[in-house]
């Protein structure tokens, strides 16, 4: 459950910020695309385990994907923020891999 929440949310935030940096004129389409990416990633990772885990990853990916283009619009394509959010994704992947190995 926690693995699907972390992976779906972080991938959705990354895709939303990068897409709104690249295409700042089309907010609506970017929001829809990043929400769909979050739904698919969270649902696929959650469906490895259980139906309720699938539901949790689905909802969390949807929320994060809808929130992400607002963050990316506010920071106005700052390169340090993009590097920071890529490092956040990398660290969360490392954390998830270590938690899989520990359990």
């Amino acid at each position: 459950m926690n693995i699907s929440m972390v992976i779906g949310g972080m991938v959705a935030v990354n895709s939303g910020v990068l897409l709104i940096t690249q295409f700042p004129f089309s907010y609506t389409i970017v929001t829809i695309i990043s929400a769909v990416i979050g739904i698919v990633i969270g649902g696929v990772v959650g469906a490895l385990f259980d139906y309720q885990t699938f539901l949790t990853g689905y909802v969390n990916g949807l929320m994060m994907g809808i929130m992400a283009p607002m963050i990316g619009g506010v920071v106005q394509s700052n390169i340090f923020f993009i590097i920071f959010i890529e490092l956040l994704l990398l660290s969360s992947i490392v954390l998830v891999l270590s938690s899989i190995k520990r359990s």
Binding site: I20, F25, Y58
Partner: protein, 156 residues
């Protein structure tokens, strides 16, 4: 545009009542974990989409501050309503999820109506109404799919 948005709002409200009656009819069969996850997911999605369509409809008339107050109270009430089918920890989870969904839905509606709030370039009026319609239809599609998933989760 307003007529179609009112129609989508009523459709979402009817779906909310159907899901709530279905969850209430079989509330004796729950475990704690399923009650918590059902309260979180359904209250989050329904409060987000309902407050998004509500703010697309009413934001030009009553302003952002009163709108956020109204939708936050609405979302937390909806979450408590869904969470009260289980035990007290599911009330807490549903309350929190509904509150977050209400705030986020209002912000999405405000940014769609005026993209300059987030530092994005502004748009002309016809494009804005078209975008509002696209977001309403997308929210309705999300509600339909997720209520189908929640309804299907009783069988598993």
């Amino acid at each position: 545009m307003h007529g179609l948005l009112v129609t989508l709002f009523l459709f979402n409200f009817v779906l909310f009542f159907i899901i709530y009656k279905t969850l209430r009819r079989s509330r004796r069969l729950y475990e704690d974990r399923f009650a918590m996850i059902a309260a979180m997911s359904s209250s989050g999605i329904f409060s987000m989409v309902l407050s998004m369509i509500l703010s697309l409809l009413l934001l030009d008339w009553i302003g952002l501050t009163i709108m956020i107050a109204i939708t936050t109270i609405f979302g937390s009430l909806l979450g408590v309503l869904f969470g009260a089918l289980g035990k007290y920890q599911s009330v807490l989870a549903g309350y929190f999820s509904g509150l977050i969904g209400g705030m986020m839905g209002t912000m999405v509606g405000a940014v769609v109506l005026d993209p300059r709030l987030c530092g994005l370039p502004g748009e002309i009026a016809s494009t804005i109404s078209q975008n509002a319609l696209i977001m309403g239809v997308f929210g309705t599609l999300v509600v339909v799919f997720s209520s189908w998933f929640i309804y299907f989760s009783f069988r598993v």
